[in-house]
Symmetry: C2
Subunit: 281 residues, 2 copies
């Protein structure tokens, strides 16, 4: 997916919140923002929002000298999500898919406060998925040998873990690879985060080889590309994975996400806020 | 006043709203935003927000091919303000000063909806000015020969007109010059707007000689500078005039404004939202 006109101000607003989270020093915040302005001028009609944004954010991190401004936000998201997920441990597989999609609501990029998570999860459990191709996903998984699961954010990963546990019970033959970022970038989960939370019980935890959000081809590692290429089914969580993968129209990919922002909703031609389990086409 | 770290995202958000007001064409909006990104990379530690913003906005206007995207917003602001001001025609001079400050609430830059004007005016009339140096202003005016009045936004100008009428009654000896922008820029009043509304009854309407907001020295006309230099008292309305004049510490200047955004409040070291009549120092 290419940028939409709203992506520029969205990245600018995220940069502002990043410098606020990264440092109390007003002058250093200003330096970070001026660096953001310099980096943001590289935007073009063909920029992919997740890649464009990540490169700007990492430049701001460098300028303000903070490697992981989201540490506390991520810890809080994880703590709250862990509690909530405990109440859903006995759900059926289909419910677990829905929960994995709902968990995608935890997203700094859209200004989400993790404190709202419990209420939001319970409210969204009553909603229908706007597009539900989960039957097709389960059919593909029943025939698949290898699954690659692309994670998105902290907090959300507890919902992923629940879903993966159910998948493992249902499809014990499946070889599962779970990918996360190589290091901190906004509130995305890192390889370290997945290991800490226990993902090694359900599959092999791997790095995309980069801190850039999504699957930025050309920037991911050779090792990751090998896993990507040999996967029979790919479950891609969240907007960043969608943005970087959508133009490939790779039929192995199923997107599980909430269409949180207007550009994603416009790109998919559906209402903003929709919950989706949708096969790439 | 130099930029604060929040100014960048604020200008980016304004650019987004500008392209939305300027055109329904999604692709043209994107072109406008990419031009904004290019122009915004000129930001430096020493940028003055009003000048930096105006130059970016005018670049966006050129790219989307709309000379005055705020025409309707300005017309609505004027229409609503005209109605409201009718209820206050009999106020005392001091009340008229307060109304002129309150009128400064009409500001696109901070996302103001003109529909809220009536309620907001009535609520703010009950507030105290946070800093009130109006006695000093009136004393200076009683001794002055020439007043230069720097207007700010449409809508607000009806409050200015009421105040100027009261000034004229109180100080009939005063030679009054009222300045506005040379052409459309966001929701600022132009010379044409002032003339249409009847400012020529209270003084001489002049142009700053530029569409750039505030008093951007070096960009204003020679004719304007002559009036500026010979004025005994200068009343400067709103944030843009403050931003461009503040570093001169020109004791002839009295700022009448509402400190609407965090950078202005931080610069003046007072609470955001404060109503002010304050002498330059």
């Amino acid at each position: 997916m290419k940028i939409h006109y709203e992506c520029f101000a969205c990245v600018a607003n995220q940069c502002q919140r990043i410098v606020e989270m990264a440092t109390e020093d007003i002058e250093l915040r200003k330096k970070g923002i001026i660096e953001a302005a310099r980096l943001m001028s590289s935007i073009s009609e063909n920029s992919i929002p997740a890649i464009f944004g990540s490169e700007v954010f990492l430049g701001v991190y460098r300028t303000v000298g903070n490697y992981d401004p989201f540490r506390k936000y991520k810890e809080l998201s994880n703590k709250l999500a862990e509690e909530i997920v405990k109440d859903f441990e006995d759900v059926e597989l289909k419910e677990a898919i829905k929960l994995a999609i709902i968990g995608n609501v935890v997203d700094f990029a859209v200004g989400y406060s993790p404190e709202e998570l419990e209420d939001d999860v319970r409210a969204m459990m009553k909603e229908q998925l706007y597009i539900d191709e989960s039957e097709e996903l389960l059919k593909e998984l029943s025939m698949a040998k290898r699954l690659l699961y692309l994670t998105d954010n902290c907090g959300e990963i507890y919902f992923d873990l629940l879903f993966l546990k159910k998948l493992r019970e249902t499809f014990p033959h499946l070889e599962i690879y779970i990918a996360a970022k190589d290091g901190p970038i906004i509130n995305d989960a890192t390889v370290e985060d997945l290991k800490k939370v226990g993902f090694e019980e359900v599959g092999k935890v791997i790095s995309t080889g980069t801190r850039i959000v999504g699957v930025p081809f050309g920037l991911v590692s050779k090792e990751f590309m090998e896993v990507f290429e040999k996967a029979d089914v790919i479950i891609a969580k969240g907007q960043g994975n969608f943005e970087t993968l959508s133009e490939r129209k790779d039929r192995r990919v199923f997107y599980l996400l909430k269409a949180k922002c207007r550009p994603i909703a416009r790109e998919l031609n559906l209402p903003q806020g929709s919950l989706l389990c949708i096969r790439a086409r």
